[in-house]
């Protein structure tokens, strides 16, 4: 271990499955680090006076601190510290766009190769659990308060975790048959294997969090009932309304929405079929995905694995400005995805089913006062891309439940739940956090929201 580890040993990701093999499997790509390589990689950290990684991280993980603990082989303490800021560290370690967050901000990212923070974050929990460690159950007797959490996704789990640690009785409701929300049903297993989430659910249960699944509030159980039974309610219900492109042909058969497609695929793999999100098999199809976010990447790579013959991503800005994680773009490319940048869809073509997409080339305009550059169409650059299936992955809008108004839960003009700084909605006993409050965002942001909301609830309950 030396102060020069960062130049003596280069950045090295863990081994990744060969792309050819990956194309056919829904397994995670990366093998984990072993202890030795984890320590070598962690030792590259400079322990900057300004930890840019931590500053950029939405939950402000104590990254340099736990890297140091890895070097010192104090994995259990690292795990405990990692859990202090994050309920789902092993999950975030897998799916966060680190290259845009911690690793992107890492001092060493300028010319030396950033520390492999994501993989190390994952390593910590995996290694600690492997050693028999588990998050500590609350040390004190119950505080006598009961809180209901609606939604077992990242926000709900984050919230439940903190409430539970404080000795609150927590019951988490979810309409799905398994814990995790989109973590389970939205994210494909090649990024996040379902056993990981199941294990996390078990850890939370072991700590005292209880789950009631297959229960949709407003349908299976009324909000009125919840408010009667619990001291407070947390809403962590996400955003599910798919954004539309607003161009002709969007309703043609063969145009499918990203999320139902992904959910259908996961349910098929989990053997939990559901009529509302049927399995769609794209084997042998020419597939075009419109959009450039992580969901688009997930669709592209799912399609590859299903055996699609041609998979193309069309995105309206350039690669530099694409929101999706660079790592995932690279992985997608390796797996055979074809990228078309600076292409804006104008129309989906076809008679009774999709035949292709009409695109126009774009270029980035001058920066606006805030420095953002908007794409402008290049006249005369239209072209048609042949396709059998077009997946729309433009992101999600809030999907407020019909009963919000009746319980005095106000929304903003974009349909997001309005809260104060303590995450309290206009109904004092109802709190909210995650995508439904912020609009569609990262998993890690939702976790953070849920956890902070829990502290708001505890302060409100005076415990």
């Amino acid at each position: 271990m030396s102060h020069f580890s960062f130049i003596e040993g280069p950045r090295k990701d863990p081994e990744k499955l060969d792309a050819e093999q990956r194309r056919h499997e829904f397994r995670e790509l990366y093998t984990g680090f072993d202890l030795g390589s984890a320590r070598l990689q962690a030792d590259r950290c400079l322990h900057c006076g300004n930890p840019y990684c931590e500053w950029k991280c939405p939950v402000h993980n104590y990254i340099p601190n736990w890297l140091q603990l890895i070097v010192e082989n104090r994995i259990e303490e690292a795990a405990a510290m990692s859990h202090e800021t994050n309920t789902l560290p092993e999950i975030c370690g897998r799916i966060c766009p680190q290259d845009r967050l911690c690793e992107g901000a890492c001092t060493l990212n300028d010319g030396y190769g950033a520390v492999t923070i994501g993989h190390l974050e994952r390593f910590i929990t995996e290694e600690a659990i492997g050693r028999g460690w588990h998050p500590e159950a609350p040390r004190r007797t119950a505080n006598g308060k009961r809180v209901a959490v609606i939604g077992a996704g990242p926000a709900g789990l984050g919230c439940a975790d903190i409430l539970n640690r404080a000795g609150t009785e927590v019951l988490v409701f979810d309409r799905y048959p398994a814990v995790g929300g989109l973590l389970t049903f939205g994210i494909p297993p090649f990024k996040l294997e379902k056993a990981v989430i199941a294990r996390r659910a078990q850890l939370l249960e072991d700590m005292g969090v209880r789950f009631q699944l297959n229960t949709e509030i407003g349908k299976d159980l009324s909000m009125t009932q919840l408010l009667a039974d619990y001291d407070a309610v947390f809403l962590g219900m996400g955003t599910y309304a798919a954004k539309e492109g607003g161009f002709p042909g969007e309703n043609l058969p063969g145009v499918i929405k990203a999320l139902p497609y992904l959910i259908g695929n996961v349910r098929q793999l989990m053997d939990l079929p559901d009529p509302f999100t049927p399995f769609v098999d794209l084997a042998g199809k020419r597939v075009v995905v419109l959009g450039g976010g992580d969901t688009a990447m997930d669709c592209l790579r799912t399609a590859i694995r299903q055996g699609a013959v041609q998979v193309t991503c069309a995105y309206r800005r350039d690669e530099e400005n694409m929101p999706g994680s660079r790592r995932e773009v690279a992985n997608a490319r390796e797996e055979g995805v074809h990228f078309l940048f600076n292409r804006q869809p104008l129309e989906i073509l076809g008679e009774d089913s999709v035949a292709g997409v009409r695109l126009v080339e774009t270029r980035l305009g001058d920066p606006d006062p805030r420095g953002r550059r908007h794409p402008e169409m290049v006249a005369g650059s239209e072209q048609v891309l042949a396709a059998d299936v077009v997946i729309i992955a433009f992101g999600f809008d809030p999907s407020p439940a019909p009963w919000f108004a009746e319980h005095g839960i106000h929304l903003d003009e974009r349909g997001r739940v309005v809260t104060n700084a303590q995450f309290q909605t206009s109904n004092p006993r109802v709190f909210a956090g995650g995508d439904m409050r912020t609009g569609s965002d990262l998993v890690v942001t939702a976790v953070d929201e849920g956890r902070r909301a829990a502290n708001g609830i505890l302060d409100y309950l005076g415990v």
């Binding site: 102060h3 400079l46 322990h47 900057c48 930890p51 840019y52 500053w55 601190n65 202090e84």
Partner: protein, 1474 residues
């Protein structure tokens, strides 16, 4: 509280002093006249006020000229009896005020059985005074008092003392009244005049009948110019040169002991309180006088007050050691640089502090006249008439019994005092020693719920990991870089440790820090338990005390101390926690104090203050507040010395926490929570190396001990006993009530947090402590953590600045400046806002180009920075007309004469690469007295950073660590600084000399002293500055905000009419134009920027500068990393132009066109913008006082330079005489007589040579100069190749300072009778920072010979203590006895030492050097080398001593040691030396 930040308590003084005595007690006027002329020849050691006439004061203390006064009495019709005494008084000029005093004296005298024969108005001539002295001119009166027929001299002196005390107490508040002396044995004449005017002012002194056999004399250099006639010295017994760093603690303890004092000889109530304010020297005089008048033997009293170092001298005579140990239990040392001369009329004495930090040289002539003074050669004598020529060494005393004519040296005095009682036997049968490092057992106080305790007492993960763990692992404090960019405690929105409100004071200029590592032998943490006894009695049972070596108690020691059965150590525990529901913090403190008083009254001795009982629903008194309050309550009640205070606390974790507890009176500390954390860390395998529990705890204690040494030494204090209760802190942000109740007497200038605020913070901590959902806070005080403490250079600030300097767009800069200017309140200036004003168009404001020349980059050495970064800064600053600063480390001559030159060249304590050529290639020479990141501390450039180029520039070896000492070894006092400034102005008369100070309470008065020492420029740096590596507790706790220091300095300089003489700069955390404008309004004319230009160059504020692994290639010497450096001068230029533009915009907003009009215009500022209740509670109005100052100096400097009064005529003549030959490189030989007032001789000439020919361009011995007489200080400073100076006579301190070449020869004139090897021929600190050249001196040298030498070759015939300290090169031959601590910190070069007494192994500091015999065949090469040096010495000096040695070579060789660095290989070393 004064209106401004200035306070009289900040005054410091230092000086020159002396004593002259006729050993056979034959009184003569010659002695008096010679004392005065000697005094005049020490004028350069004093200061002259702005009026050019008022000195800082001088005076004489005469053995009573009895015949003179009898004659005077006869003339004036007063009847004197067989015995009489004279009271010499300053009385108010106003007769109506003076009359009652004179009347009262008559009454009191009669009451004491003395008869007032009458009053004599002492003739004085006010024409001798300057305007400032006249403003406070007193009338001087003598009371002639006839003494009773019975009683001896001592009894008479006591009566006169009592009379004086009665009057002093009665008229304590009377302006203008002061009793100069009141004695039958001595009389003092003193005044605020220049020494040569003293007999003009007092014609008595010119009267040939005024005859005396003994006179002490003193010339004062005070840091301020308030006319204070009473503070002129000598006082009633002593005159002091130096500064007592411990005086505040000494005064407090003196008061605390009063209740225990009893002697049948004096009615205590009448004389107490005996120790008054005034100056440190005055208090010491008061104390000494009390002890002596109370019946203590004079020498015992002197040694008790100013003992030599003895703790770490195992070879000391055990009987003598016992004397010191016994007395160390009774009084702490009055510690600090001290040269003392004493005069009781019957005894003449001179004593030096334990570290020998002041010079004292003496001669005894054939007429049996003894003269001791700060310098040798202050009166005219022929060297052939000298019997003995010597110097007083560290911890030594010499004395003359005037009645017997006996000359007493240290050994004789020690022999006398040690034999007075069987101290050793007393100690052996009574004293109890507890071994601090007993095996660890169970915790004496276990922590049940560690997490809750940590949270409740504010421990974070960061502290656990970065502070406690590091201490427990390595026994050393962790090091950090880049200073402190967090808010001070009172501005923070986070609850902060109470110790965070305290800034450590540190020595700068008027007193030196100690090097606690290399000069460790003077340091001690010894701590004693049990009640103290009456000082006037010495009894065996008084030795019944418990001693421990460290006040950081282990579990074992704590248990042992608190469970003894004897009544005299009975212990009692006091709970520092209280019920949150039933009491308040203030109430709980009150109750605690009452309980403690009660317990001591009932006989409890060991009081344990414990916060261990904390639980939910309870709050705690911070231990520091508790100890401060109880300590003062006990003093108040006269009980303090009857008990000890042990603090068992969770609140003591880092060295500063401990230091504050001791500073406010704790006897010892038991840090139970730290121990629990260490045990837990170990269980969690948190240590990188396996370590036993016992070892980890020991390491921790050792680390705290070291930290304490460092904090003590920063103030120049050697022993914890003297540091305890000295309160050497400035409270920053504490409410007056809190200070009065808990920290009485502490400076707290701006108010702040109240009891309620502090309690509220604790309530929050305790609430969270018992909330399981609240995890242990991660921290954020040291490094930025989201949600933690605010950092002024947080990631976004860094990123936005770097973006702006790259794009060069002012709009991008405004994003950065917006982030900074609208940040949460972080610095005091954030609470000062610009007052709205009538704006003017920006075109009317002076241009950017007029503003950027006011910008300098702060000192950063090549060594700290990579060459690329260092040069980029220089190019940028030279382009915009500003200046870059070389830092401490020399500069590559390839950068001279082009735009890579650093226009400011720094002179720091290590003197690395400070050569004549370096000095002449500067526009400004900056003396770094202290640096913001770690004032009062030295530094170390680790070996791995010492690359080839750095080694070359620093005259060192590649790969070998380089040490920068904490003190400048040639600045132990203010007059020393004046001397260094003079040296620099001699070598480079065209350079401005600047002095860099760090803000602390009192810095304004120090700055006044610096201005009087003829600096041209002064920089006030804030705590938040600093880029260098530094121990964490120094980063966080030393130095105060520049806003305070600057405002204080501006006001003090103006008030003293000194401001026009110096340009003032502020430095510390400057980022934006708003900072610049606020700095200017508070008084700064120019600005130093450290971190911001670094960031502009690409620094990412990693804070790893000390590790050499800087990823941005800036703070590293690593080749690979340096390739990653992407900074360009243009980025720095962009940054400074942006700042200047923003400054212009703000000036336009204020309606100000010229920058000069901003300076000091505090009227444009208003207080506002508080965001927290604590911030609202601050009173920042004193910062804005300047604009309201009446009758003061200008706001800006109006003189380009501040020329010294000493024009250096001899040096000018030498240059004029040598110049024709010099210009044509023709050899020339010159001859001059020389006197001690001719200072820095050679430097002026050396500068002229270096300017023309560089260091090595002139042929050897081209200019030869012979001198006859005694040279002043710094003889041969900056000597350069081409010069050969031969002095027949002797020289004072600093011979060969910074010499780089040439030869200096000093030898006694022919015909002298004294033996050269027994006589002092040069003073202290010779060859300091020498980089080459040769010195041959036929005689002994003083302390610290060849300190930091890196190339000079020297032969001398004996050395004082600490010779060859920090040496990195060169060769030193000592043909006589050396002192102790030889070779401390020596990493290069070699030395030969003749050890005739065979005691060298006890004298050498073996940490870094080995010593070898050379009388073997294998060492023949070294023998040859030595022989060549001895022969050269003989050729140069004709030394008889050396000739003797050469004749008995084989015999001589047997007793010679070769001293060589452990790191060096002997064969290589020899090769390099030959």
């Amino acid at each position: 509280m004064t209106q401004s930040l200035y306070s009289p308590e900040f005054e410091r003084d230092s000086c020159g002093f002396g004593l002259i005595a006729q050993l056979d007690n034959q009184a003569s006027h010659y002695i008096v006249a010679t004392a005065i002329s000697s005094l005049a020849r020490l004028t350069h050691r004093g200061a002259v006020a702005a009026d050019g006439k008022t000195g800082d004061g001088c005076g004489l203390l005469l053995q009573m000229p009895e015949g003179f006064f009898r004659a005077i009495a006869a003339e004036t019709g007063l009847t004197l009896g067989r015995r009489f005494g004279i009271g010499q008084f300053f009385l108010p000029m106003d007769e109506s005020a003076a009359t009652p005093i004179r009347d009262r004296l008559g009454h009191e005298a009669a009451d004491l059985g003395l008869a007032l024969a009458g009053w004599r108005p002492v003739p004085t001539d006010p024409d001798a005074c300057g305007a400032e002295a006249l403003a406070a001119l007193p009338s001087v009166w003598q009371a002639f008092l006839n003494l009773p027929a019975d009683g001896d001299i001592d009894a008479h002196e006591r009566l006169l003392y009592r009379l004086r005390r009665r009057l002093e107490k009665r008229f304590a508040g009377t302006e203008g009244f002061f009793a100069v002396t009141c004695s039958s044995q001595v009389i003092g004449y003193k005044g605020l005049v220049m020494p040569e005017r003293l007999p003009d002012f007092y014609p008595d002194l010119r009267d040939s009948r005024c005859a005396s056999a003994l006179v002490t004399y003193h010339q004062r250099f005070s840091t301020n110019t308030w006319p204070e006639w009473r503070l002129c010295q000598p006082f009633r017994m002593l005159a002091h040169n130096g500064e007592l760093n411990t005086v505040q603690g000494n005064r407090i303890w003196a008061r605390a002991r009063e209740a225990q004092l009893a002697t049948p000889l004096l009615p205590m109530a009448e004389v107490l309180p005996a120790v008054g304010g005034g100056s440190d020297s005055f208090s010491l005089d008061n104390m000494l006088e009390l002890l002596v008048q109370g019946g203590m033997d004079f020498f015992k009293a002197l040694r008790l007050l100013v003992p030599p170092a003895w703790h770490n001298f195992p070879h000391m005579d055990p009987e003598l050691r016992a004397f010191y140990e016994y007395h160390s239990m009774r009084m702490e040392a009055w510690d600090g640089p001290a040269g003392l001369v004493l005069n009781t009329g019957r005894i003449a004495a001179c004593a030096l502090d334990r570290n020998g930090l002041r010079p004292a040289r003496y001669v005894i002539t054939k007429e049996r006249i003894l003269n001791i003074a700060s310098e040798v050669g202050v009166f005219d004598y022929d060297h052939r008439d000298i019997l003995v020529q010597g110097r007083v060494g560290p911890g030594q005393v010499i004395a003359v019994n005037m009645h017997s004519g006996e000359f007493l040296d240290t050994a004789a005095i020690d022999a006398r005092i040690k034999a007075s009682h069987p101290y050793r036997q007393w100690l052996e049968s009574h004293a109890v020693h507890l071994d601090a490092d007993d095996a660890e057992g169970q915790p004496a106080m276990a922590v049940g719920d560690l997490l809750s305790s940590e949270k409740a007492f504010g421990v974070s993960f960061e502290e656990e990991d970065q502070v406690i763990r590091v201490l427990a692992e390595g026994g050393q404090e962790a090091v950090g870089s880049m200073g402190d960019d967090t808010p001070v405690a009172v501005l923070s929105t986070q609850p902060r440790h109470i110790a965070d409100y305290f800034r450590q004071q540190f020595a700068q200029v008027t007193n030196p820090p100690i090097d606690p590592l290399r000069e460790a032998l003077v340091m001690s943490l010894n701590t004693v338990f049990g009640a103290e006894s009456n000082l006037f009695e010495e009894r065996p049972e008084f030795a019944r005390r418990i001693e421990v070596h460290s006040p950081i108690l282990s579990d074992q020691t704590f248990r042992a101390l608190t469970s003894r059965s004897e009544a005299q150590f009975r212990a009692r525990t006091f709970d520092l926690t209280y019920s949150a529901a039933d009491n308040t913090l203030e109430g709980a403190i009150e109750a605690l104090s009452m309980a403690a008083l009660d317990a001591v009254r009932h006989g409890d001795v060991i009081l344990v203050l414990s916060d261990h009982a904390l639980d939910r629903d309870r709050l705690y008194i911070p231990a520091l507040m508790a100890v401060g309050a109880v300590h003062h309550a006990l003093i108040e009640a006269g009980l303090r010395t009857r008990c000890n205070l042990i603090v068992a606390t969770a609140h003591a974790r880092d060295p500063h926490h401990f230091a504050t507890l001791f500073g406010y009176g704790a006897t010892a500390v038991y840090p139970y929570l730290s121990y629990a954390i260490i045990r837990s860390l170990r269980e969690r395998h948190a240590f990188s190396q396996p370590v036993t529990e016992q070892k980890a705890l020991e390491n921790y204690r050792k680390g705290i001990d070291k930290g304490l040494y460092k904090i003590l030494s920063k103030m120049g204090i050697a022993t914890l006993a003297s540091y305890r209760s000295s309160q050497l802190f400035e409270a920053l942000g504490l409410d007056r009530r809190v200070v009065e109740r808990c920290f009485q007497g502490t400076v707290s200038r701006i108010g702040g947090a109240s009891f309620a605020h502090i309690e509220n913070d604790i309530r929050g901590l305790v609430r969270d402590a018992f909330l399981p959902r609240k995890a242990l806070p991660v921290g954020g005080l040291l490094k930025y953590v989201s949600g933690g403490e605010y950092h002024a250079y947080h990631p976004e600030v860094v990123r936005s600045l770097q973006h702006a300097v790259k794009t060069g767009r002012y709009g991008d800069y405004q994003v950065f400046s917006g982030l900074v200017n609208q940040r949460p309140v972080t610095n005091l200036r954030d609470l000062l806002q610009l007052r709205p004003a009538q704006a003017i168009p920006i075109d009317e404001v002076e241009p950017i180009e007029a503003i950027t020349p006011r910008f300098d980059t702060a000192a950063m050495s090549l060594g700290a920075l990579s060459p690329e970064a260092h040069e980029a800064l220089a190019i940028a600053m030279n382009t915009i007309g500003g200046r870059s600063n070389s830092g401490e480390g020399g500069e590559d001559p390839a950068r001279y004469h082009n735009n890579k030159v650093s226009k400011i060249k720094q002179i720091a304590s290590g003197r690395f690469g400070v050569t004549p050529e370096y000095a002449v290639n500067a526009e400004e020479l900056q003396i770094k007295v202290a640096q913001g990141a770690k004032p009062g501390e030295g530094g170390q450039l680790p070996g791995h950073k010492v690359t080839g180029i750095i080694a070359r520039l620093r005259y060192a070896k590649e790969g070998v660590a380089l040490i920068s000492p904490p003190p400048h070894h040639d600045i132990y006092s203010i007059e020393d600084l004046a001397q260094l400034i003079f040296d620099l102005k001699q070598v480079n008369p065209s350079a401005y000399v600047s002095v860099k100070l760090v803000s602390e309470a009192g810095v304004g008065t120090i700055a006044a002293g610096v201005a009087k020492a003829y600096a041209d420029r002064i920089t006030i740096a804030g705590y938040d500055g600093g880029t260098g590596a530094s121990p964490l507790s120094s980063v966080k706790y030393a130095g105060s905000p520049w806003e305070l220091g600057l405002a204080e300095t501006q006001a003090t300089l103006r008030r003293n009419h000194l401001r026009h003489r110096v340009r003032l700069q502020a430095d510390g955390g400057f980022k934006t134009g708003l900072d610049v404008v606020k700095g200017a309004l508070l008084g700064a004319e120019s600005f130093g920027f450290g971190t911001a230009p670094m960031i502009a160059l690409g620094c990412k504020y990693l804070r790893i500068c000390h590790l050499n692994n800087c990823a941005t290639g800036i703070a590293t010497q690593d080749e690979t990393l340096r390739k990653h450096f992407t900074g360009l001068p243009e980025m720095v230029i962009n940054y400074f132009r942006f700042v200047a533009q923003e400054t212009r915009e703000l000036m336009a907003g204020l309606g100000i066109r010229r920058f000069d009009d901003l300076v000091g215009a505090t009227g444009h500022l208003q207080v506002g913008g508080a965001q927290t209740s604590k911030q609202e509670h601050l009173d920042l109005r004193p910062l804005l006082f300047n604009a309201a100052l009446q009758n003061a100096d200008s706001n800006i400097h109006t003189l380009d330079r501040n020329p010294p009064f000493d024009h250096g005529e001899l040096a000018e003549r030498m240059v004029a005489d040598a110049m024709p030959a010099l210009e044509r490189r023709i050899a020339t030989h010159l001859h001059y007589p020389i006197r001690n007032v001719n200072r820095s001789i050679g430097a002026r000439l050396a500068g002229e040579i270096a300017r023309r020919y560089g260091n090595n361009g002139l042929a050897e011995d081209c200019v030869q100069v012979d001198f006859q007489g005694t040279a002043g200080q710094s003889f041969g400073a900056f000597c350069v190749q081409g010069m050969r100076m031969r002095l027949h006579g002797d020289a004072n301190d600093y011979v060969g300072k910074a010499m780089n070449g040439g030869t200096l020869i000093i030898a006694p004139p022919e015909g002298v009778t004294y033996a050269s090897q027994d006589s002092a021929i040069v003073g202290n600190t010779c060859l300091y920072g020498a980089t080459g050249g040769r010195l041959y001196a036929a005689g002994r040298a003083g302390e610290r010979f060849a300190v930091r030498n890196s190339g000079a070759i020297a032969v001398i015939e004996g050395a004082g203590d600490h010779a060859c300290e920090y040496m990195t090169g060169g060769q030193v031959v000592v043909l006589g006895e050396p002192g102790v601590n030889f070779g401390a910190g020596m990493t290069g070069g070699l030395a030969f030492v003749w050890d005739r007494q065979r005691q060298f192994p006890d004298l050498v500091n073996g940490e870094l050097v080995n010593y070898h015999r050379i009388d073997t065949e294998a060492m023949a090469g070294y023998e040859g080398l030595l022989r060549r040096h001895v022969e050269a010495h003989i050729a140069a000096t004709k030394s008889r001593h050396a000739q003797d040695l050469l004749q008995h070579w084989a015999e001589f060789l047997r007793d010679v040691w070769l001293v060589a660095p452990k790191a060096a290989r002997l064969d290589v070393l020899l090769e390099e030396a030959s």
